[in-house]
Every structure is written in structure tokens, then in C-alpha cells.
């Protein structure tokens, strides 16, 4: 008597990929796996572990899309650690992802605004430019008023400008006064006030 093949269980309409598929040699399979793992809480650590090492931009973007959808403080904090990365593609992709996480990013914003690395604070201004949160303009204003580095202030002004109004005029003039030897800041403020 031959073996009786057990009738397979009916598959779910869209079965979730496994975490192991994130290591598939085929980038397209990895990308599909990363997107398919959205909503799978157990996959978050695996995605966080792999996002910095992934070399294919499309796969990394898929991982970040899935992680951003989680929008939890742990994910935001882990991703923010990459803002200081030497990998320009990684740090800019992470900044774009964090800008889509309005629930969790506010909790890490105090740390980002006071990060000792001015380059991280420049990236923070990039995040705030797109972060849909009512406090974004306030944080940008804080940077313009208080940050000691002219590049951070310039990035914050650039991020603020699309939403700036007459109420920001004195803030901008104050920035120009703080950095009297920086022609770019002076030009930017003058252009904004025109």
C-alpha cells in the first residue's frame, strides 16, 4: 500500500512570507518578502537587523516601508541610529521613512534635536520638513532659534519656508543676526522675508 498523501490545507489567499525569505539571494524575492511582512510583529527585529546591511535600494526601501508602517517608538529609535551612518543612501532613506512616522517620531525628537552630531541634526531638519505633526513647525523654530551650527539652522530654515508666515519674520532675522558672517544664511533670510 502506498503512502496516502494528505490533502493539503487550503492556503490563505495571500500567505505571509517567512523571515528567512529576507535572506533570499534574489533581490526581488527579498523585496516581496519585506513588503509581505507588513503587520507581522515577529518580523520587526529581523527587518531592523537587515536594513543597514541590505545593498539593493529597492529591497531596503521595501524594508523601510514595512518598518515605517509599524510606527512604534522602538522602530523609530532603531532607525534614528542610522541617521549618522556613513552610507548616504541609508541615512537619507531612513530620514524619509522617519518622516512618515508621526506617531512615534515625536518621542525621539528631543534626542534628535540635541544630538551632539550636527549632521544628525541636519538630517532631523529634513525629517521635520515632511513630518505631518502639529509640532513640526515648533521644532524647526527651536532649531532656527537655538542650534549653534549654521548648517543646521540653514536646513531648518529651508524646511520651515514652505509653511512660514509673517509670524516667523523675527525668528528668521534672529538667525541672520546670530551668524553675521554666513552669507548663505543672510541670503536665505533676505529671500524669505521678501
Amino acid at each position: 500500500m502506498g503512502l496516502v498523501r494528505r490533502k493539503p490545507e487550503p492556503e490563505a489567499e495571500h500567505p505571509k512570507p517567512s523571515v528567512e525569505q529576507l535572506d533570499d539571494p534574489d533581490p526581488e524575492h527579498r523585496r516581496q518578502a519585506a513588503l509581505g511582512l507588513e503587520g507581522v510583529a515577529e518580523a520587526v527585529p529581523a527587518l531592523l537587523d537587515r536594513v543597514a546591511a541590505e545593498r539593493e535600494p529597492q529591497v531596503r526601501d521595501a524594508m523601510l516601508t514595512t518598518l515605517a508602517a509599524v510606527d512604534s517608538p522602538a522602530v523609530a529609535e532603531a532607525l534614528a541610529g542610522h541617521l549618522a551612518s556613513d552610507d548616504a543612501a541609508l541615512r537619507t532613506a531612513v530620514a524619509e521613512a522617519l518622516a512618515t512616522m508621526p506617531v512615534s517620531v515625536p518621542a525621539i525628537m528631543p534626542g534628535l534635536l540635541t544630538d551632539p552630531d550636527h549632521r544628525v541634526r541636519v538630517m532631523t531638519a529634513m525629517i521635520l520638513a515632511d513630518l505631518p505633526h502639529p509640532a513640526s513647525l515648533m521644532w524647526l523654530s527651536d532649531m532656527i532659534r537655538d542650534d549653534p551650527h549654521p548648517n543646521v539652522v540653514a536646513a531648518a530654515i529651508d524646511a520651515l519656508l514652505p509653511s512660514a508666515g509673517p509670524q516667523h519674520a523675527e525668528l528668521l532675522r534672529g538667525a541672520a543676526r546670530r551668524f553675521p558672517d554666513d552669507p548663505f544664511l543672510r541670503f536665505t533670510v533676505d529671500a524669505a522675508l521678501r
Partner: protein
């Protein structure tokens, strides 16, 4: 016969930086176009023979390093000089820029007269802006 001024593409996601560099170089006699990220720059380079590229690093969609690599690739193959200009001042940033194909790496802020001088030097013989 009148030569046309050198054509410069300013590539930066910050509108204020594009405006500033465009004003500086425009006043110095260059013909200036703008792109807001690396992808836009590559698209522009496919249709226009620029004499100089001024490229930021941290940009969405396509960062500066990838942009310069693409400009130097067979896809675009531009021989025009590239100046990378960024807030990034880590020790390896300049090396990465040169490895990507840049001719010069400058850290912001760059004095206006220095930027114009550099652009004139790199475009010498390519037009009559200088």
C-alpha cells in the same frame, strides 16, 4: 562668433541652497539650471550637455554619490567636472566623492567668492563666463 556661457547644473534638495547657488553663479555669468535630487539631475544630463555639476550629497530619491556615479556611467557618460558640496565632513566623505567621480569636494558653508572662483577654474575654456 559669440560663445555661450558655461552651463552649470545645481543639484540640491534644499530650495534655498539652489536659489543661493543659482544667484551666485548667475551673477557671475554662468547659465544655471537646477535639479532637486540626483534623479532629476541624471534626467537633465541626458538631454543637456552641462559644463559643470554642483552636487549635494544628502538628497531623497537619489543621493549625491549615486548621482555622480550615474553621471560618470555609460548611461550618461558626462566628462564635465563635478563639485560635490555638502554638510558632510566625516573623514571618508571626500574619498567617497572622488571615488564616485567628483573632481572636487567642498564642505558647506563655502564662501561665495571661493565657490565662484572654483567654478570659473573648472569651466575655463568651456565658455566666456570668466
Amino acid at each position: 562668433m559669440t560663445e555661450s556661457p558655461p552651463k552649470v547644473l545645481v543639484v540640491d534638495d534644499a530650495a534655498t541652497v539652489r536659489l543661493y547657488h543659482s544667484k551666485l553663479l548667475g551673477d557671475a555669468g554662468f547659465h544655471v539650471a537646477e535639479a532637486a535630487n540626483g534623479l532629476e539631475a541624471v534626467e537633465a544630463a541626458l538631454t543637456t550637455a552641462f559644463d559643470l555639476f554642483l552636487v549635494d550629497i544628502n538628497m531623497p530619491r537619489m543621493n549625491g554619490y549615486t548621482c555622480v556615479e550615474t553621471l560618470r556611467s555609460e548611461t550618461v557618460g558626462t566628462p564635465a567636472p563635478v563639485v560635490m558640496i555638502s554638510t558632510e565632513d566625516r573623514p571618508g566623505d571626500a574619498d567617497r566623492a572622488y571615488a564616485a567621480g567628483a573632481n572636487l569636494y567642498l564642505v558647506k558653508p563655502v564662501a561665495a567668492d571661493r565657490l565662484v572662483r572654483v567654478c570659473r577654474m573648472l569651466t575655463a575654456g568651456r565658455g566666456d563666463a570668466a
